[in-house]
Every structure is written in structure tokens, then in C-alpha cells.
């Protein structure tokens, strides 16, 4: 009887049906394992991610050639099948409903109005030519990006300077990587991050300065976790970040005291004889001056300035000394500082003096920000002439002119203004026309108020972007709709110098065109189409870039074509023709294949004229703005979560990513300060700096030191507070230290006792 009832009951339970079928999985083939049947691919292809500089390989699941889903590419040497949430969601923002689908021109009523490409291009050329005719070639500038492909950056840079005759162009890479580029260039003779990600796995000591790898570069942290040498992991960061928690040693120094700490460590290492005298003698210059200089950084002084104890400082030095393979890594905590270049070089100095360079698991290693910041550094034709060359050198100009088949006179004989100088130029009225490509300065620029005022200062502002809704597009006179990552072909260069391929797996919406194609059209309408007659496709430009790289440190003449990049799992520069021996079997062709992971300086030879690395140093100085009675808190800014990317133009378009970060701006502050200010958690506080005031929700956490507050950079209001101070060498903004005041606000809630 009982079984009968049970059976009858079971018959009334629906084990299958349309709702159940929604989630049914089937073997995905293509090495994927099971996939939702609804999203079963009929093919797959691999490409690199277009968010950060880690440069993960993604396997895009295709249906009729179109990407319908994706997963990490197991065989890609960078990420071994993993991806962060941004990568997993990379296709989603392409389908956002606020994509720019036609050119938009501001009409007489002040509204952005759809126009066709012909009209947009005519206006683009007329207006900029008018301004140039009236105010000269220096009156029009562009602000580029680290988010578009190498080929597009090269086209933009060549078109801007050689075709349109502009002098000033810079990129948002100024905000993230300029410091590393300048530091390397001066110390090593070329902007050359020496490492490969395998170094994370090979080190026995990993020193991370100003780098929250777990959140900012989780897939690099993956490589740290794969390290089988039980490494000591030292994190230097004012905050107890996720990475600091996971480290074996954390040093919460006073903000912007890193330079002093690094010199102090150098002093201890030298005084204790913990240096590699042979390496120093053979491969470096400037040692005597440097070792004399650091004597003043006594442990007492370093303790006083960093807030660390003598034991702690000695423990760091001792750990570095005991390490056989010590790698030093830095990110924005260093790069975004008022003496950032010297700080980066102080890290480089430590690696040089301990001989920790050119060997597995070593290096002075800058972790880059954007997916193609490295491409921008070599080929954007902004601060460097194409291929890492110098605008000021006649031979470099002639070389480039020869390769491109243009008149050397078309190449400017002076350097471009940096981003902040372009902003100043606009403010002072010298620059009247601005072309912004794939960046959102009205949100991200330090003390962004300056950007908001552009609308009144500029005669003509063009924004070329995937979205018509960015803060910057909103103030534009003309918006050019751009195709995004996944809607075009090209290459990106990641942090470890690896060229990776981007492919076309989605159709751009409406009339959006790739930045490459937009450049091509502008060239034609501007009247310089002839100059770019060889620039027919991204891959054709790649061949030109190969020529431009020949015999430069970044020589890539050995990379045959896109297919080789695809088949090799990306190729690191340098890979020169006929260079190197191959450990790889030839799979489909007779191309010599590079090893998957290569590092620089294995022979101890650097790119300086004498082949020696330089010890570069300078006395630390205080930041322009320090805390005082009126503004008693240090404001730190940085990445909030791994699911947020910069100004959120893309990550804000994915429902899943949006679930993974707080929708509203918040401020992390220490409970001690909160108690003192009678601020309770989840209440609103006002944060005021000399430049503005914002409101944010308070989150009380001991991970932020008393006297500091942290606000993520992803909220547009954050940069109303930051102080426009710049590193004098790299012109990179100092986002991570300014003085603010905090006060609690009534938030409309009643509270017990205060009701």
C-alpha cells in the first residue's frame, strides 16, 4: 500500500519539461566539456581578453561565426583556462543598449543628433582644419587609449601626426603606465618589462609594492598560487588588501613613504654586504653614487617616515637577502605618485644590486594596467616615435619615414605634450580642438572638474567610443560610433610583452566601425589617404609594424603573421627573424616557434648604449598636499573589486558584474575614526577636499589605517576630490594621496538614541 502511494506520488512529480530543459547540458565538444544545450557552439576560436594587461586567452563559443558564450582558454600560457569575472562577461557589454550606433552631431539646439558617416567625416575634417588654420597645428590634440589594438593605435598616431599634421597626442596610458615606461627607459635603456609570468611561479621571494594583485590582476595571482617553492610574499601597501591578507608579510606603510623605505632597504643591504658585487660591477653604472646616496636613509629615519619598526625593515631586507630568486613587482600604488619614476627606479635598483634580474623568478617587474598599454607604449606614436623611437632624433625620424614611405619632414621634431599639459592647454585656451578615442577622461582624469569645463573651452570635441553615454561623450560635439573588442581584428600586447590576437566574433551594432576603419575614413576625408594606401587591413599594418620594430629591442620581425600568434598562444617580444632556437615541434608549418615563456636580460646586457643598467635616484620630497587640521585624512583611491573596470563604461553593462560590486560609491574608513566622528556604518558621510565634496556610504574596516580613507576609482565622483599633482618625469597623476575632511551626514534614517 505504502509503495503504491509512493508510486502514485512520484507520478505527480514533473521531472522534466520545458523549464527543466532550459538548463540541460550537453557535451560542448571542442575540448569544452559540458555546456548548456541552449548555448552549444558549432565552432570555437581563441582570442585575448580586452580588459586588463594580464592578457588572458579566452575561448569564444561560436554559433554561425558569432560568439554566444566563452570560457578560459586552457592552452593559453597566460591563464591556463582561467578568467576573472570581466573576462567571463567580455561579450555581454557588446550587446548593451546604449551602444553608439550612428555618428552623432550636436545640433543648434545643443542636442546630439544622428547623422551619417559622410556628414560626420566632413564636419570632423572641416572643423579641425578650421581650427588648425586659425590657431596652428598645436591647437588640435588627441587623447588615445590603451584599450584599442596595436594596429589601431599605430594608425591613430600616424594619422594624427603624419597625416593630419598634429603635434600633440597622448593617451589614458599616461594615467596608468607612464611611470613604468619612463623608469625602464632610463634605467634599462628601453621601455622593457623584463619578466614572464612564469617568474611568479619560480620565485622564492615575491615583493609586491603598491599592487593588489588578487583584485586587480587575479589571474596573475593565480600564477603566484601555483608557485611550488613556498615563497615569502611581501606586500607593501598602506591597506590590508586581499593580497596583503594572502601574503606572508605585510607592511602598512605611511602613504607615499615607499621611496624612503626602498632607499632604506638599499642602505641595509649595502651595509650588510647583501649585494651582488659581481653583477653590479659588470652590468651596471652609477653604483658608487647610489651607495653613497642611500647612506642617509638610516633605519631610524626610515622608521620615522614609513611608520614601520626597525625589526620590520630589517626583516624585509633579510628576506630579500635570503631569497635565491627574488622578484619585485609594482603596480599603480607606485606608478600613480608624485615621485613615481624614482620609486619605480628604486625598485629596479634593488633588483640590480641583488643580482635579481635575468634569471627565472627574478626581475624588477611592472605590472601593466590596460590590455594594450604596452602596445601604446611602443606604437601609439605619442610619447615615442613608432617602435619605441625618439621624435628628437633625426635618424629615428628618417628611419620611420623610410619604412612608411613618407617625407621625414612630416614627422614632428619635438615631443608631444603629456595628458596633463594637453588639459592645461585646453584650460588656457591654446588647444581648441580635441579628439578623444576610447577613453573617458571626464570620469577618470584626476580632478575631473577640469574636464567638465572643456565643453565651454573647446571649439570642437570629438569622442570616438563604443558608447554614446560615457561622461565624455555626453559633452562631445561629435560622437563617432566605434566597434569594440570582439568586433574587429588586431593585436594587444600584455604585461609580459606578449602579442595576443583579437578576432571578429560579433557584429558591431548599426553603423559602428572599428577604430581602424574610422582612421581609414578620416585619412581619406582629410586628404591624406594616399599616405596610408598600404594600411589596408590590421594584418597589413602588423607587417608594417614588424618593419618598424626591426633591430629595435622590441623586434618582432620573426612573427610571421596573425596565424603564428594564434598558434603559438601569443608571442612575446622580442622575436626577431632567424633568432633563437626552437624547442617546439613544428605543428602545421615550418615557422620557428618561440618558447612560450621568455624573459629579458638573461645575458646581463641592457639596452643602454653601454649595455649597462643605470642606478637612478633622487632625494624624496613631500607630496604637494598633506593632511592638516582642516583636511586631516589621507584619501587613497584604487580598484574596488575585480568585477569593475575603470570608469565602468563596459562592466556597468553586465547584470552579473553589477551584482558583484556596490552600486553606489562608498568609503572605507577605520572604526577608530568613525567612532571619533560619530559615524556609524552604512550612514552617509561627506568627503571634502580642496577641490570638491562628495557623499559616500561609510564602510568601517580595520583594513584601512586610522587617518586614511579609501574610495574606489570606479565612481565618477571620486575624481572630484583628487589633487592634480604629477610625477615630473612621467607626468603621471598622483591619484593615491590627497587630503580630505570627513563629516557624518544625516541620511534620512532614524537611529536609536539619535531619533
Amino acid at each position: 500500500m505504502k509503495t503504491l502511494i509512493t508510486k502514485a506520488e512520484e507520478m505527480l512529480r514533473a521531472w522534466d519539461g520545458p523549464l527543466t530543459q532550459d538548463l540541460v547540458q550537453q557535451p560542448g565538444m571542442f575540448g569544452l566539456g559540458k555546456v548548456p544545450s541552449r548555448l552549444a557552439p558549432d565552432d570555437t576560436t581563441t582570442m585575448v581578453c580586452g580588459y586588463c594587461s594580464t592578457g588572458c586567452g579566452l575561448k569564444v563559443h561560436l554559433k554561425d561565426g558569432q560568439g554566444i558564450n566563452l570560457s578560459g582558454d586552457t592552452d593559453y600560457p597566460v591563464n591556463l583556462g582561467m578568467a576573472c569575472p570581466k573576462g567571463w562577461e567580455a561579450l555581454t557589454p557588446l550587446a548593451a543598449d546604449d551602444r553608439a550606433t550612428t555618428p552623432l552631431l550636436r545640433n543648434a539646439e545643443g542636442q546630439l543628433e544622428a547623422v551619417d558617416w559622410d556628414r560626420a567625416l566632413v564636419v570632423f575634417c572641416e572643423r579641425f582644419k578650421e581650427i588648425i588654420a586659425k590657431h596652428g597645428p598645436e591647437s588640435v590634440a588627441w587623447l588615445g587609449t590603451g584599450q584599442i589594438t596595436v594596429e589601431e593605435l599605430a594608425f591613430l598616431g600616424a594619422l594624427g601626426k603624419f597625416g593630419m599634421g598634429l603635434v600633440h597626442g597622448d593617451g589614458n596610458t599616461r594615467q596608468c603606465m607612464a611611470t613604468a615606461a619612463v623608469a625602464y627607459k632610463h634605467s634599462f635603456g628601453f621601455d622593457a618589462p623584463p619578466y614572464t609570468y612564469a617568474d611568479f611561479e619560480e620565485s622564492d621571494v615575491i615583493v609586491l609594492v603598491g599592487s593588489n594583485l588578487c583584485i586587480a590582476h587575479p589571474i596573475m595571482w593565480q600564477r603566484v598560487m601555483r608557485n611550488r617553492h613556498r615563497p615569502e610574499i611581501i606586500v607593501v601597501d598602506p591597506r590590508k588588501t586581499e593580497t596583503a591578507m594572502a601574503a606572508t608579510q605585510h607592511y602598512a606603510i605611511t602613504p607615499k613613504s615607499d621611496l624612503t623605505l626602498l632607499y632604506g632597504l638599499a642602505n641595509i643591504l649595502i651595509a650588510s654586504g647583501w649585494v651582488d658585487r659581481e653583477f653590479i660591477a659588470t652590468n651596471t653604472t652609477g653604483w658608487d653614487e647610489f651607495s653613497a646616496f642611500v647612506v642617509q636613509f638610516t633605519t631610524e629615519r626610515v622608521c620615522a617616515e614609513t611608520g614601520l619598526s626597525a625589526e620590520e625593515i630589517w626583516h624585509i631586507a633579510d628576506t630579500i637577502n635570503r631569497g635565491k630568486r627574488v622578484s619585485f613587482w609594482w603596480t599603480m600604488g607606485v606608478n600613480q605618485g608624485h615621485e613615481a619614476t624614482r620609486t619605480a627606479q628604486a625598485i629596479i635598483n634593488l633588483a640590480l644590486m641583488t643580482g635579481n634580474i635575468g634569471r627565472p623568478g627574478t626581475g624588477a617587474n611592472s605590472i601593466t594596467g590596460q590590455c594594450n598599454a604596452m602596445g601604446s607604449r611602443l606604437f601609439s606614436n605619442t610619447s615615442n616615435l613608432l617602435g619605441g623611437r625618439d621624435f628628437l632624433k633625426a635618424e629615428d625620424r628618417e628611419k620611420v619615414a623610410g619604412i612608411l614611405g613618407i617625407d621625414p619632414a612630416r614627422i614632428p621634431q619635438r615631443n608631444s605634450l603629456a595628458y596633463d599639459q594637453i588639459v592645461d592647454g585646453i584650460t588656457s585656451g591654446k588647444i581648441k580642438g580635441l579628439w578623444v578615442v576610447a577613453t573617458n577622461g571626464a570620469h577618470s582624469w584626476i580632478h575631473r572638474k577640469a574636464f567638465e569645463d572643456f565643453a565651454g573651452k573647446l571649439d570642437f570635441l570629438v569622442v570616438q567610443d563604443m558608447y554614446a553615454t560615457t561622461e565624455t561623450a555626453q559633452i562631445a560635439d561629435l560622437v563617432l560610433p566605434a566597434a569594440g573588442w570582439g568586433e574587429k581584428e588586431g593585436t594587444l600586447i600584455n604585461s609580459e610583452r606578449r602579442f595576443g590576437l583579437v578576432k571578429k566574433v560579433a557584429r558591431a551594432p548599426g553603423q559602428a566601425l572599428s577604430d581602424f576603419n574610422i582612421c581609414k575614413l578620416i585619412a581619406q576625408y582629410w586628404g591624406c589617404g594616399e599616405m596610408f594606401s598600404r594600411w589596408t587591413s590590421p594584418e597589413a599594418v602588423f607587417q608594417i609594424l614588424k618593419e618598424l620594430s626591426r633591430r629595435q629591442p622590441c623586434d618582432i620581425t620573426g612573427i610571421v603573421d596573425y596565424r603564428m600568434i594564434d598558434e603559438c598562444g601569443g608571442v612575446q617580444w622580442p622575436w626577431a627573424e632567424r633568432e633563437g632556437t626552437s624547442n617546439f615541434e613544428h605543428r602545421t608549418s615550418n615557422i620557428e616557434r618561440p618558447e612560450a615563456e621568455r624573459r629579458l636580460f638573461e645575458d646581463g646586457k641592457f639596452f643602454t648604449p653601454d649595455g649597462r643598467a643605470r642606478f637612478l635616484f633622487e632625494a624624496p620630497r613631500a607630496a604637494a598636499e598633506n593632511v592638516d587640521a582642516e583636511f586631516p585624512f589621507v584619501l587613497l583611491t584604487g580598484r574596488g573589486t575585480s568585477s569593475q573596470w575603470h570608469t565602468q563604461t563596459r562592466t556597468g553593462k553586465s547584470d552579473v558584474l553589477r551584482r558583484l560590486y556596490p552600486a553606489e560609491v562608498y568609503v572605507e574608513m577605520n572604526p577608530l575614526d568613525a567612532t571619533r566622528l560619530a559615524v556609524v556604518e552604512h550612514s552617509m558621510v561627506a568627503i571634502r577636499s580642496r577641490r570638491g565634496e562628495i557623499r559616500a556610504t561609510a564602510f568601517l574596516t580595520t583594513t584601512v589605517q586610522a587617518g586614511h580613507v579609501f574610495v574606489p576609482m570606479h565612481y565618477a565622483v571620486t575624481n572630484q576630490l583628487t589633487n592634480p599633482e604629477f610625477d615630473p618625469y612621467s607626468r603621471q597623476p598622483s591619484y593615491k594621496s590627497c587630503a580630505v575632511a570627513i563629516r557624518g551626514l544625516p541620511d534620512g534614517r532614524w537611529r536609536v538614541g539619535s531619533g
Binding site: G33, N69, N517, R659, F699, T701
Partner: protein, 532 residues
């Protein structure tokens, strides 16, 4: 005539051609074998669970550093809706100024040994797989009552308005069946999530009262969750969830508010009829019909409203399947009996040949109505949420029953000119109203001032976010009491008017009380982030 194709036309056309497949050779020899398996092989067990064992998630907290890849991988590889996630990342933090502490926590379904979702489901849309122990949700069986959402102390089942059903993590059972790792396990860059085979009796043994998966999380004794969180670090005693101090409102569940209050009015009216039948049989004969009809109509209204709560009401007839474990099933069953008896009472009060049955049917209806109200209360008590504790919920539900029953009966009797009886009920209503409201205010005051009171959080929610509702109820209480007293002191049409007004004020007040009941409850969940 053909116009010349411009460069713009050419480039627009080129932009629309997808080239990835054509331009780049495919490389997927042996495509049936999952490439990622080489990295996740050691993260999943080699052997299937034996009898008495089941699969469980293991989380190495030291390897969880907050990248959240597991959440999006789960989303993508399971083909979930745009805003749907089955895994979540939260935060524990605390420590001291010298030793700050933070720990991100990845969490999904704990595939409990005694799943509360499964017990609560009225239509048996949950199945604990006999071999794997995975708690599966049968999507096509689900009627969208969302009771599992209330029952689960870890906030796992998620309701999809679009689909009208709940969905949840199934530990990628079809992947595990094919020796593949679940999506989250595959996608964690640090290998923080593993699948382990655990003994159910061991899990049960360790889930002693007071045991918790993590600080601040619900007592494991309730459902015996199988996930284990491991860390080599020491968790500070003050570790708390990122959202520990977040004050938020839960869903109001309007249809449930309507259903509860209306069904309790009906129960109260039938109870009033029973009282009249006992105290004054001669009156009963003349008032039974209006009382029965009004009670019946109000009950039907309540039941009709409750259907609006279901995502897929057509399957609700299966609700008897859950009778053995689900108070939701029992409530539906009890209300079925209640409605049947009420219909009988209506018939007996209208059709003279059945008049003899009117009194027993009135009593039967009242009895079943009270059983129904008790079942309603048990639905909430059984979630083990502090604010829905037995004494609180029963007092509220039966208090409402008696209050609105007497106030309603009073108004009704006044309408039919039974002034004396109406007065008696109005007096009763005034006493009950005062007692009930006074009790509620005392509860609130106590919970607000006592930090250790289990309902302190709910009291804070009320005080911080719902204070206008408290004030509104004070006003309504005063109005209802004043009009009630006027009704007691007057007669005829004036009395009727005041009695009806008093009832309406009370009714609105109780609707608000029930809104607070749903919105101010603290729903237990895993540690959340600071904010969303």
C-alpha cells in the same frame, strides 16, 4: 543605375562580416575531452559516494581571494538568466587595529543533509538525490510559492519573476556525472573550491546546536549543511559579515499580507458566530446568515489573493504532496477544509431544511479556521527566523483573528441593528486592540533596547526604516479606539457608522502590521559584501 560604392559602404559591409572561423584554423583534435580536466582532476573525487555518503563543496578560504570568477563562470557555464547567479561572494572582516582581518567567502547551495527547502516545499519540487546527496530542484514541478526561499537559512533558492519559479545550484550534477568538475570548481584560479565525498552521519554528528559554517551564519543544527570552510589562519572572535550592520527590508509579499489578514478576518467572524451560537442561540438564528456569508466571502477573497503569490498557480493542486513535511501544504489543506465547512455553514444558514446543522457547522468552521490560522503561523515559525518566533507569530495571527473578527462582527451586527450584541463585540474589540497593540509596542521597545534580544535587528529595521508605519499605526490605533468607543456609546445608524469606521481603521492597521511582519524580518544568509 548603379551608384558607386563608397569607402564608407565598403567598410560598413566589412564590419558586419565575421571572420574568426574563416581566417583561423580550428584546433580541436579530441574535442570530446574537456581540456581543463588536467587542472581540475585533483579537485573532484575519483569515486562516487557510497551509501551513507554524498558530495559536498569544500572551500579553502586561504585560497579564496575575492576574484569572483566562480560566480560568473557558474553563470556562463550553466546558461543562467542575465541577472541570475547561483554562487555569491561575501566578506568577513574584523580583527584589531594591529591585526586587521578580512576574508572573502565564496558560497552556493550547501546541499544539506536535512534540506529545509525540501521540507518546506508543498509540491515536492525538491529531491535529495539518493546517490549523490545533491539537493536538486525540479523546475517543472515548482509552483513558485517561494516558501523554500523563506525556509533556506542561507538565501540559496532564487525566485525568477520571469519564469515564475525558483532555481538553484545543482552542483553541476550532470558535469559530476560525467567526471567533470562543476563550473565554479573549474573556474577558480586558485583551486579554492573542491568537491569532496562526505559521510552524512558525520555531517549530522558535527552539526550540533550552536555549530556554524562561519561566524554569524545560521545554526548548522537546522539543516546540516555539508559545505566545509577551511583556513589555516585564525579567525578573529569579532569577525563579522560585510553586511552585518546593513539594515534592509525583505520582500513585502503583498498577496500573502492580503491572504493572511483576510483569512484571519474570516476566521474571527466565524469565531464570533460560534460565540453567539453558544451565548445567545436566539440571536444566532437571525445573525448567522450575514455572518456566514460575509465570513465566506472574505475567506474566498483571501484565498483568491493568495493565488497571486504563486508563480505558476496551475500546479497548486499538487500541494497535498508535501503534507508530510510542509506547513505550506498543511495550510493549504486546512484552508480547504475551512472553506468547505464555511460553505456548509452558509448553506445551512440559508436553506431552512439544513438549519439544524447551522450550529455544529459554525463550530466546525471555527475549529478548522483556527487550525488554518495555526498552520499559517507555523509556516513562518518553521523558518526559525527570530522575528517569526512562535510566541510572536501566534500572538499576532490569533490576535488579528480575534481583533478583526470581533470588530467585523460588531460592525456587521450594528448594520443589522443588533445593537446590544454589536456593543458587546465592540467592547471586546477595544480590549483586544489595546492589549495587542500595547503588547506590540512593549515588544518593540524591549527589542530596541536589548542588544541581545534575538529580534533586535528587526526592531532596528522597524525603527530606522519603517518608523512612519509605526506612527501610522499609532494614529490608526487611536482612531480605531475612538470610533470604537463612539460606537459603544451610540446606537442606530450612528453606531453602525462608527463601528464600520473602527473596523476599517483596525483593518488598515493590521495590514500595516503584516507588512512590517514581512519586511522587518531578518532573513539569515551567508556573509554578504558591504553593499550591492
Amino acid at each position: 543605375m548603379t551608384s558607386e560604392r563608397t569607402l564608407i559602404d565598403e567598410l560598413l559591409a566589412e564590419q558586419q562580416s565575421l571572420t574568426a572561423v574563416a581566417r583561423f584554423a580550428r584546433q580541436h583534435e579530441n574535442g570530446g575531452v574537456p581540456a581543463q580536466a588536467r587542472y581540475y582532476r585533483e579537485l573532484i573525487p575519483l569515486d562516487k559516494p557510497r551509501p551513507g555518503e554524498q558530495y559536498a563543496f569544500g572551500v579553502d578560504l586561504d585560497a579564496c581571494t575575492g576574484c569572483k570568477a566562480c560566480v560568473s563562470a557558474c553563470h556562463s557555464l550553466n546558461g543562467l538568466d542575465d541577472d541570475e547567479t547561483w554562487r555569491d561572494i561575501g566578506l568577513l572582516h574584523g580583527g584589531t587595529i594591529e591585526e586587521p582581518f578580512q576574508q572573502t567567502v565564496t558560497t552556493a547551495c550547501h546541499h544539506c543533509v536535512e534540506p529545509a527547502c525540501l521540507e518546506g516545499c508543498p509540491v515536492r519540487a525538491y529531491e535529495k538525490d539518493a546517490e549523490t546527496g545533491i539537493v536538486r530542484h525540479l523546475d517543472d514541478q515548482c509552483i513558485g510559492c517561494q516558501y523554500c526561499v523563506l525556509k533556506c537559512p542561507y538565501d540559496v533558492p532564487k525566485y525568477s519573476r520571469k519564469r515564475g519559479i525558483v532555481r538553484k545550484c545543482d552542483m553541476c550534477q550532470s558535469r559530476l556525472a560525467a567526471n567533470e568538475a562543476p563550473a565554479c570548481v573549474q573556474a577558480c584560479p586558485n583551486g579554492a573550491i573542491t568537491i569532496r565525498v562526505v559521510s552524512k552521519s558525520e555531517v549530522t554528528k558535527h552539526a550540533t546546536p550552536g555549530e556554524r559554517l562561519l561566524p554569524g551564519v545560521f545554526d548548522s543544527h537546522y539543516t546540516k549543511p555539508t559545505t566545509s570552510y577551511a583556513t589555516r589562519k585564525s579567525m578573529p572572535a569579532n569577525a563579522r559579515a560585510g553586511d552585518a550592520t546593513a539594515v534592509r527590508l525583505e520582500h513585502a509579499h503583498w498577496p500573502l499580507i492580503g491572504m493572511l489578514v483576510l483569512s484571519q478576518i474570516a476566521a474571527g467572524i466565524f469565531a464570533s458566530a460560534s460565540v453567539i451560537a453558544v451565548v445567545s442561540p436566539q440571536h444566532f438564528a437571525s445573525v448567522k446568515a450575514p455572518l456566514a456569508i460575509v465570513g465566506f466571502v472574505v475567506l474566498q477573497l483571501g484565498l483568491a489573493v493568495s493565488v497571486l503569490h504563486l508563480g505558476r498557480p496551475l500546479g497548486a493542486w499538487r500541494a497535498f504532496l508535501g503534507l508530510r513535511t510542509s506547513w505550506m501544504s498543511r495550510e493549504i489543506f486546512a484552508f480547504g477544509g475551512f472553506a468547505g465547512a464555511a460553505a456548509g455553514f452558509v448553506a445551512s444558514s440559508l436553506w431552512p431544511p439544513l438549519a439544524i446543522l447551522a450550529t455544529p457547522l459554525a463550530h466546525l468552521t471555527t475549529l478548522l479556521a483556527f487550525v488554518g490560522v495555526a498552520c499559517s503561523a507555523m509556516i513562518y515559525v518553521d523558518t526559525r527566523r527570530a522575528f517569526w518566533r512562535g510566541d510572536l507569530t501566534f500572538t499576532k495571527f490569533f490576535g488579528t483573528t480575534l481583533l478583526l473578527g470581533s470588530a467585523g462582527a460588531g460592525a456587521l451586527l450594528a448594520w443589522f441593528s443588533f445593537g446590544e450584541a454589536a456593543r458587546a463585540f465592540a467592547i471586546a474589540a477595544t480590549i483586544i486592540r489595546t492589549a495587542l497593540f500595547g503588547w506590540e509596542l512593549l515588544q518593540l521597545e524591549h527589542a530596541l533596547s536589548e542588544k541581545n534580544d534575538p529580534t533586535h535587528g528587526s526592531a532596528l529595521t522597524i525603527w530606522q526604516l519603517l518608523r512612519p508605519l509605526v506612527f501610522a499605526r499609532v494614529v490608526l490605533f487611536t482612531a480605531a479606539t475612538a470610533t470604537g468607543l463612539f460606537a459603544i456609546g451610540t446606537a442606530g445608524a450612528t453606531m453602525t457608522l462608527f463601528a464600520i469606521a473602527s473596523f476599517l481603521f483596525t483593518f488598515i492597521s493590521q495590514l500595516i502590521e503584516r507588512t512590517v511582519f514581512f519586511t522587518a524580518v531578518i532573513a539569515p544568509r551567508m556573509p554578504g559584501p558591504f553593499a550591492r
